[in-house]
C-alpha cells in the first residue's frame, strides 16, 4: 500500500506542552498578526505548528522610516522598528479574530524597560494566547530589544520578571549579536525560561555608493535569509548543549528554506524550526518543507520527527 503523502502524523510534536501539528513555526514579523498569509491561495495556518505574532509593545508604535527592507546577497535586511498597534489592541481586537483551532498562536513581546516586559507578560497571561515569546533581541529599536539581549544580567532580569507574571509557556528569543550566546541561554533557563528561540537577525547595513547614504531608513537593520544559515545553525548547536540537560526545547531559526535546512537545525538540537524570510520567496514553502520532512522520516524508517532532535553524530564515529 502506498503511504498517503498528505499524512503528516509523523510530524506531530509536543513543544512545552503545546501540541504542534508540524515542527514549523512561522516567525514573528513575517506573518503580521496571523491572518495575512491566508490571503494566499493554497496557504493554510494548519501547515504550521505555531505562528508567532508580530512583535508587540505596551503602547502603539509607528515604526522606522522607509525604506525598511532591502535585498542583500542570499538574504535581506529589515528595519521595521516594531510597528504595532499596542498590547491592548492586539488582545482586544486581533486575538478574537484568530482561529485557535488551526494552529498555536504565540505572542511576541518587546519592552523598552524591564517593567514594560512585566506589564506585557501580565496582559497576555490574561488572554487566549497559547504561549509568550519574549523578544530581547530586536535589533531595530533604540531602547530595550537587543540592548537587553546582549547583556546577560538584563536578559535574566527580564525573564525573571516575566516568569512571575505568567504561567503560559515562556520562550526567550535570543540575539546572535553577543559574544557568548550559550552562557546567556543558561542564564535565561535559570531565570525560568520554558524554551529558547535561536536566533533573531544579525545586525547589518548596506550603503548606496552614489549618495553615500545607508540604504535603510534607520541606517542599519537585521539580516535574515539563507545568508545567515550556517551561523544560526552553529548558535543552535551551542545553545543545545546547555539547554539539553534542563530539557529546554529550542526553536531553531535562521535562513531555513527547505526540508533539508530544517533537518539540519533539528539534528543540531532544535525541537521546532522557524520559517520567516523563505515565505517572501515562496509563500507555499511550508507545504513543501512538511512533505520533505515526511519523506525523510519514511526513508529513514523513523516514526516521529522528535526522534531526530539532537542526533548529530560526531565526525570520527
Amino acid at each position: 500500500m502506498t503511504p498517503d503523502p498528505h499524512d503528516r502524523r509523523s510530524l506531530r510534536t509536543d513543544f512545552c506542552g503545546l501540541a504542534f501539528d508540524t515542527p514549523l513555526v512561522l516567525l514573528s514579523g513575517c506573518v503580521g498578526f496571523g491572518e495575512e498569509y491566508t490571503r494566499i491561495e493554497g496557504f493554510s495556518n494548519r501547515d504550521a505548528g505555531a505562528i508567532c505574532l508580530k512583535g508587540t509593545t505596551l503602547h502603539p508604535r509607528l515604526g522606522n522610516d522607509p525604506p525598511r527592507v532591502r535585498e542583500t546577497p542570499s538574504g535581506m535586511l529589515n528595519s521595521i522598528g516594531l510597528q504595532n498597534p499596542g498590547a491592548r489592541a492586539v488582545i482586544d481586537e486581533i486575538l478574537p479574530r484568530l482561529d485557535f483551532s488551526e494552529t498555536r498562536f504565540i505572542a511576541n513581546l518587546s519592552g523598552s524597560t524591564v517593567e514594560e516586559y512585566a506589564d506585557l507578560a501580565r496582559c497576555f497571561d490574561d488572554s487566549p494566547i497559547d504561549a509568550i515569546e519574549i523578544n530581547i533581541s530586536c535589533p531595530n529599536v533604540r531602547a530595550g530589544g537587543v540592548a537587553f539581549g546582549n547583556d546577560p544580567e538584563m536578559s535574566q532580569r527580564v525573564v525573571e520578571v516575566c516568569r512571575k507574571e505568567t504561567s503560559k509557556p515562556l520562550i526567550i528569543k535570543l540575539s546572535p549579536n553577543q559574544t557568548d550566546i550559550a552562557s546567556n541561554a543558561r542564564g535565561c533557563i535559570e531565570a525560568g525560561a520554558d524554551a529558547l528561540a535561536v536566533v533573531n537577525t544579525f545586525m547589518g547595513m548596506a550603503i548606496d555608493v552614489e549618495s553615500r547614504k545607508p540604504l535603510l531608513g534607520a541606517g542599519q537593520g537585521g539580516l535574515s535569509g539563507p545568508a545567515i544559515k550556517p551561523m544560526a545553525l552553529l548558535k543552535v548547536h551551542q545553545v543545545y548543549r546547555v539547554a539539553k540537560p534542563h530539557g529546554i526545547p529550542i526553536i531553531g531559526q535562521g535562513g531555513i528554506v527547505s526540508a533539508e535546512d530544517a533537518l539540519e537545525f533539528m539534528i543540531a538540537g532544535a525541537s521546532a524550526v522557524g520559517i520567516g524570510t523563505a515565505l517572501f520567496y515562496d509563500p507555499l514553502v511550508c507545504v513543501r518543507i512538511n512533505e520533505g520532512l515526511v519523506d525523510y522520516l519514511k526513508r529513514h524508517r523513523i516514526d516521529g520527527i522528535d526522534r531526530i532532535v539532537g542526533t548529530l553524530e560526531s565526525k570520527d564515529r
Binding site: 514579523g29 494566499i40 491561495e41 502603539p60 538574504g75 498597534p85 520567496y281
Partner: protein, 323 residues
C-alpha cells in the same frame, strides 16, 4: 469565540507560474513583459499588482503593476535598475516566472466625479493605461464617451508607440500640445484622449513636467466643469506630490498609487508601510494590501516628515487593524 470572524480576505491572491510570451526591450533600459496567465489575468483590476520572482536565485520578489490583463495575458513595464531587473531582462520567451497576485486595492472612480484625469509618469504609466481602458469599458454614472483624459510624462523615450493625436482633448483647450500634440497610439486608436510631457524635448510633447500640463488643462476649465473632475495618478513621488498640490489648489479628489520597498506583499511584514492621515492623527498603512492606491490628500510625504518631528509617538492613534 463570540466575535464574528471575517474571512473574506482568505484565498484572494493566487500563486501562478506564468510563461513568458515576450520580454521586449525599449530604449532607456525599459522592458515590456508579456506573460501567459489564467488566474491572475482573470482577477486583476486596474492598479492591482503582482509580486514577481525575477530569478530563482534571488531571495526577494519584485512588485510590478499591471499594464493590461485580458484574454489570458498580462503585461508589465519595468526599468532595468538593479540586480533583479537585470536578471529579469535576460529571460526569454518560453521560460516561466513565478508570480503572486493580483494584490492590492487599485483605482476606482470617485462618486459624483464623472470626468477622470489620469496622470502617469515613467514606470508609473502601466496602471494608468489599464485604468483608462477599464473606465472606457465600464463608464461610471454620468460620464460620456469622452470623459477621460490621460496625461503621461517621461524623461526617457516613451516605452510605447506614439502618434500625432486624433482624439481631441475635452474641455476648453488652448495650449498647442493639448490641441494637437502627440498621443499614445494605443489609447488614441480607442478614442481615449491622451497627451505627453517630457523635459527631454520629444516631438509633440509638452516641454515640462506632466503636472504642468495637467495644470494648463485645469486652468482652461470653468468652475462647473472642474467640479466634475477627479485626479488619479501613478509615478515618481515628486510627480505625485505635484498632483496632490494641484488637487488642493483646485479642490479636486485625488487618488495616487504608491510604491515602496516590499518583502511579503501580503500584509505580513510591514516593510512597505506609509503614513496616512486619519482624523487628527497618523496611521501606518501597508502599500501592498491597504493600497497601493490611497487618497492623495491624506498621504504624508517624506518631504513633510523632514519638516516635523518624525519620531514615533505613543499618543498617535495608530490604527492598523485591517489585518
Amino acid at each position: 469565540m463570540s466575535a464574528k470572524i471575517d474571512r473574506q480576505h482568505r484565498d484572494s491572491i493566487a500563486v501562478e507560474d506564468c510563461e513568458i510570451i515576450a520580454n521586449e526591450a525599449w530604449p532607456g533600459n525599459q522592458w515590456r513583459l508579456r506573460l501567459r496567465s489564467s488566474t491572475i489575468a482573470a482577477r486583476a483590476l486596474p492598479g492591482s499588482f503582482v509580486h514577481l520572482r525575477c530569478d530563482p536565485e534571488l531571495p526577494m520578489r519584485r512588485p510590478m503593476s499591471l499594464m493590461r490583463a485580458e484574454a489570458g495575458v498580462i503585461e508589465m513595464l519595468y526599468k532595468e535598475v538593479g540586480h533583479g531587473t537585470r536578471l529579469l531582462a535576460g529571460k526569454k520567451p518560453g521560460e516561466n516566472l513565478n508570480l503572486i497576485g493580483p494584490i492590492g486595492r487599485g483605482f476606482t472612480p470617485v462618486p459624483e466625479r464623472p470626468f477622470n484625469l489620469l496622470i502617469g509618469g515613467g514606470v508609473g504609466i502601466p496602471p494608468i493605461f489599464f485604468f483608462a481602458h477599464h473606465l472606457q469599458r465600464n463608464p461610471p454614472p454620468g460620464s460620456d464617451a469622452d470623459s477621460i483624459l490621460v496625461l503621461l510624462g517621461s524623461e526617457l523615450p516613451f516605452p510605447f508607440a506614439t502618434r500625432p493625436a486624433q482624439t481631441p482633448v475635452p474641455g476648453a483647450v488652448q495650449d498647442p500640445t493639448l490641441i494637437d500634440g502627440a498621443a499614445m497610439r494605443d489609447l488614441d486608436e480607442k478614442a481615449i484622449a491622451s497627451r505627453l510631457a517630457s523635459r527631454s524635448g520629444f516631438e509633440g510633447c509638452h516641454f515640462g513636467h506632466v503636472g504642468d500640463l495637467a495644470r494648463l488643462w485645469l486652468d482652461g476649465l470653468d468652475r462647473t466643469w472642474r467640479d466634475r473632475v477627479a485626479i488619479h495618478a501613478c509615478g515618481p513621488l515628486a510627480m505625485l506630490e505635484a498632483c496632490v498640490a494641484l488637487a488642493h489648489q483646485y479642490d479636486l479628489p485625488c487618488r495616487i498609487s504608491l510604491e515602496e520597498s516590499m518583502a511579503c506583499a501580503v500584509g505580513g511584514c510591514a516593510g512597505c508601510t506609509v503614513r496616512i492621515r486619519k482624523g487628527t492623527g497618523v496611521t501606518m498603512q501597508r502599500v501592498c494590501v491597504d493600497g497601493p492606491v490611497f487618497d492623495g490628500r491624506c498621504v504624508v510625504f517624506q518631504s513633510e516628515l523632514r519638516n516635523e518631528d518624525a519620531s514615533p509617538t505613543n499618543s498617535s492613534p495608530l490604527v492598523d487593524k485591517t489585518l
